[in-house]
């Protein structure tokens, strides 16, 4: 049983390195984009800064027509080239960023598909998955946001060197002053982002509640209830209240953003005033020409803007660190690997034995089973009955090895099942669970789980036995008809009972040596139910079969019945034996049969 590893948050540096590794692994060419974009972004701003200066210098100096014309052509060519490259790269970067995000999402999906089954029922794991998905969703935040900003930062990094060069020519003191100013500005921005971070959890909590209300309003499935219960206005009211709570938190965040930015603006004011006075003094002293004045004027403005953007990008990336952490944490979880060598599975027929099995779900207190002992003989049909919550479905999960048994053993033909490869073990089972979820693909694919290479004859036999062949024959594309409408409007919606039959057909098609059915006829009417049970008998012939059903009519077909109560088998035997015993099974049977008798004692009439 895999346990989710305890979470420790990585630092921004570590996570950023992980991200770069992922980029290297999933799309090396993105590094080329980084490089190209960096070069273009470094050069681009200087066209607008340097060119006017040279132009002015020439104009105020020799004013040679030829030189001026050459300058203008040079300006056009370099400008056009750089801006064209910038536009192409910008789009290409965005595309790569999105595709990268989708690639990482695929890894996430792979993890979901491969993780040990117990994780899929573990709330901690489910939350970790949801939280990781939040980080992969959309472009501005999370992983997408970090990648985009990375492009922008790499683009701007080289430009810094250019600014550095220019400003040092002017005066190192100016540069120092500007940097000092910029650092202060950085702290203001960080403070605002930290504040926002601190409110993340209370906000997420309210957001979760809001999302529930939102979904309930929007989901058509709630439509009947909301109307019949006259609950619509109340729900709207609850939603409104929830929204107000969230708005209040956001308000606080925006306000804090503003106060830090206002402080930043005043800093800017100071900086601008001082630098411009300095520049003017230089001109008045004669140590700075007008062209140079315009150049530095533009440079200071551009540098301030540049720094502001860099800080913003960095702060944003910092704020996404926890997302990266969540994504990484989820993907790094590993299933418990058992290094022991696996035995090949024996041939059918199979007997299965539960020997002193005790089991409780991870992180729970109560044992579902204590010292359970049960043997299923080869080719036997076993019915499992009992109250809701008696452990029937858990029994099936253990039998299938969706959960592994820690205390006690399950044996297949005398060999502990742990010794077999789990995937190979799964091959032996054909299961129909209670919660049927058809796939939005053709009926044939739902049953055979392959697009093309399936056995047609086997498919139709399975559909006949599941009593769905006739319906499928009448469909527009027969077995190629898609089962839902979500992907193909030409698809057909199957009723609950029909979907159940398709699930049964799937189990029959697989021809697993051990057949397990959990409430297989719950949604079917009386006549359909009868047909199914008759069909089972034929289809199952000779294989081991286990039925879980409330409908005691199904036990008619079985060799033995095990009655579960509170995790124990309280009665075991054939139907006739148990009825003779006159115990709990007989009681349950009589209760259900009561109204089918000729003269029932109908209470209260």
């Amino acid at each position: 049983m895999a346990e989710s590893s305890e979470k420790k948050t990585h630092s921004l540096r570590e996570n950023y390195r992980w991200l770069m590794q992922q980029i290297w692994e999933l799309d090396k060419t993105m590094y080329l984009n980084f490089a190209a974009f960096t070069v273009v972004c470094a050069l681009k701003p200087f066209v607008g800064i340097l060119f006017p200066r040279f132009l002015l210098q020439e104009l105020m100096g020799s004013a040679r027509a030829q030189t001026l014309v050459l300058m203008l052509i040079g300006f056009f060519l370099s400008g056009a080239g750089l801006f064209y490259a910038y536009a192409r790269l910008q789009r290409a970067n965005l595309a790569k960023s999105i595709l990268f995000r989708i690639s990482v999402l695929r890894k996430h999906q792979d993890q979901c598909l491969e993780t040990d089954f117990p994780n899929t029922e573990d709330p901690k794991f489910l939350t970790a998955s949801q939280v990781a998905m939040d980080g992969l969703d959309g472009n501005g935040l999370g992983l997408g946001g970090v990648v985009e900003r990375s492009f922008l930062i790499s683009g701007n990094l080289l430009a810094f060197l250019g600014y550095l060069a220019l400003l040092t020519r002017l005066s190192p003191w100016v540069l120092a002053y500007l940097l000092f100013n910029a650092v202060l500005s950085y702290y203001f921005t960080i403070a605002a982002k930290e504040y926002e971070s601190s409110l993340r959890l209370p906000f997420a909590d309210r957001n979760r509640r809001f999302m529930y209300l939102f979904h309930t309003m929007y989901d058509f499935a709630y439509g009947k209830e909301l109307r019949l219960q006259n609950y619509r206005a109340t729900l709207a009211q609850k939603t409104h209240t929830s929204q107000q709570e969230m708005l209040n938190i956001r308000r606080q965040i925006y306000k804090k953003n503003f106060t830090s930015q206002a402080a930043d603006a005043l800093l800017l004011l100071l900086r601008e005033g001082l630098v411009y006075i300095y520049l003017i003094r230089l001109v008045m002293q004669g140590s700075l020409s007008i062209p140079d004045f315009t150049m530095y004027f533009a440079t200071v403005a551009a540098f301030a803007q540049w720094f502001k953007e860099m800080v913003e990008h960095y702060a944003h990336i910092r704020a996404q660190n926890h997302y990266i952490d969540d994504i990484r944490h989820f993907q790094e979880q590993r299933n418990n690997e058992d290094d022991q060598e696996k035995l090949p599975l024996p041939e059918a027929p199979y007997s299965i034995e539960f020997r002193n099995v005790s089991f409780k779900y991870p992180r729970t207190e109560n044992y579902v089973f204590r010292n359970l002992n049960l043997t299923i003989e080869p080719g036997q049909k076993l019915a499992i009955v009992g109250h809701n919550g008696a452990g029937k479905t858990t029994f099936v999960k253990l039998l299938c090895r969706l959960y592994e048994v820690e205390e006690g053993e399950i044996l297949l033909n005398g060999i502990p099942v742990r010794k077999f490869d789990r995937e190979a073990y799964f091959h032996k089972f054909s299961v129909v669970f209670q919660d049927i979820k058809p796939l939005a693909f053709p009926v044939a694919e739902n049953i055979t789980l392959s697009e093309n290479g399936y056995d047609e004859e086997r498919l139709w036999k399975a559909m006949e036995a599941a009593d769905i062949a006739e319906k499928v024959r009448k469909l527009p594309l027969q077995e190629k008809t898609p089962m839902l409408k979500i992907l193909d409007p030409e698809g057909v919606e199957f009723s609950g009972g029909e979907a159940q039959k398709v699930a049964i057909a799937r189990a029959l098609y697989k021809q697993g040596d051990i057949l397990i059915m959990d409430e297989p006829t719950a949604a079917l009417d009386a006549l359909a139910e009868a047909r199914i049970y008759q069909g089972f008998d034929k289809a199952v012939h000779g294989r081991t079969a286990i039925y879980i059903s409330h409908r005691l009519a199904s036990t008619y077909f079985c060799d033995v019945i095990a009655m579960f109560e509170q995790g124990e088998i309280v009665e075991y035997g054939s139907h006739d034996q148990l009825m003779q015993q006159n115990g709990k099974y007989a009681d349950m049977f009589d209760t259900q049969a009561r109204y089918y008798k000729e003269n029932p004692e109908v209470a209260g009439r």
Partner: protein, 592 residues
Amino acid sequence: MKKDLQIGLRFYKLVYRLYPAYLPKAFLAAFLQALVPFINVILPKLIIDELLGAQRASLLLQLVLFVALGNGILNVINRYMTYRMDEAYYDLMQRIELNMGNHIMNLDFEMLEDPAILNQKDQAIFPLRNQGVIRNMTMYTMQLIQYSLTLIGLMAIISRLNPLLIVFILGIVFLNSRIFKKQQAKQYEIFQEMVPLNRRYGYYLELTTDFSAAKDIRLFHMKPYIHDKLSDFHEKDCGLFVKMFDMFGKYEGMSQVILQMQMAVIYSYMVWQVFLKRIGIGDFSLYVSASVSFANHISLLLNSYVEYRQYCIYIGRYLDFEALPKKIAEGTAKPEVREAPLTLEFKNVWFKYPRSEDYTLKDVSLTLRSGEKLSVVGPNGAGKTTFIKLLCRLYAPEKGEILLNGRNIQEFSEEEYYKLLAVVFQDFKLFSFSIRENICMNQPCDPQDVEEALQKAGLSERIARLPKGIDTPLYKNFEEDGIELSGGEMQKLTIARAVYKDCPIVVLDEPTAALDPYAEYEIYSKFNDLVEDRTAIYISHRLSSCRFCDHIAVFNEGRLVEYGTWEELEKGNGLYAEMWQAQSQYYVSQGA
């Protein structure tokens, strides 16, 4: 372009309706932002002129202060406006979401079962929630206004030099807009191809990450099958994607080249003017920065427009969905049935679902008297659930009438009519609120009556064991300390809810499907306690439930084929007898 304008207008009409103060705030913010470029365009000219002229220190100082203060104050004001606008936008988003929620809740019910409408809803809602469509729409519209205002100001400055310059610049803009139009058309094409692919993507994502199919995926080795589908999709969609962005890049690149050419021409003209000594250096700086700013803003404007147009598509879908009309007229009468006995009559009712060829109910006539218990049976697809939906006024008959004490039920107001019915649907839903709230819903809550309802449903012990009792929330997605009840327990809770409701008619649709035989028996044996003297309709595949009803109505292929007491029908040779035989044979022959 006209269509986009229309969509914009419709959208802002909606915005105005939901949040009147938003638009004026946004305009003000846009206006204030529009002022920003002017300080750095105009003032350097004055400084340079002075520097080249008298170089009066005090004047220069004043000018510098003007620049710094001007920028500073405007900066602070704009950041303040950003703060208020962020807040206002968030508020607006919430109002829009709530508005949509109310709209959906109040749609004609038939739309909820129409896959086309479901599709329309998904298409309208998905981009709102996932791509910040509303945010971007408002942002780009405000940018359009802001940039336009700036451009007007700049045009005024530039035309002082030579109005022909404006003409030239606008000519370039026109050229660029032709390019944009072509880009749009190409984009739309690709977009159409992408819509079904995106839907597919969303479906795969859900399939792999929502874990509800986890058991099946492992036990049926579905991984390779799903992998293949994912890979196949990846290739197609990602290829398309790259193609689209590449195309964007080319068009945008081209328009950038044209803009640069425009800049070069402007510069050349300025240089020529200086060369001919028609303007001074100060003016040169003024006109150059004005032209550069103008060109930049045109570029920004076009960019915003392109983005705006993209979002118009999504907004259009959203608006269309929001405009779905209510067809079924709302009645206003209040049924007076509190004291008088109640008779429900179906009179020659014919019904078929919208978009369907065949009638689901054919000429159904049935009378239900006050206090009567009716069992409704029939094969799957016979029309039983449709019968209930009509009774619940979720649909209206196409032919024939449904009468309550002689009056057509359509005449009553929805709210008042629903007060008469307590319905337990097969696909019932409970809410993630407290158990007490789920039971009482909108009615006043009497703890004793709640306890009684729980007892009748067989849940009172289970609830008593909970630390918070009836205040325990259900599920974990709203309150974190909620509980997950088992399927059977949920069903019992829904029954308790129906019992609690003080109303004359109770409808139960497969209420014991998830219950074990004991719990089922509990419900059956207490059935009369549960419904007391109310009129009751009971649908179930388990024919044993017919025994405690007064009459049985047998539906088959849309028609009421048999009607009578259990004795009458069981003895007969019809469909009911056949079904009864099929189900009871095991019990009767096997019983002790």
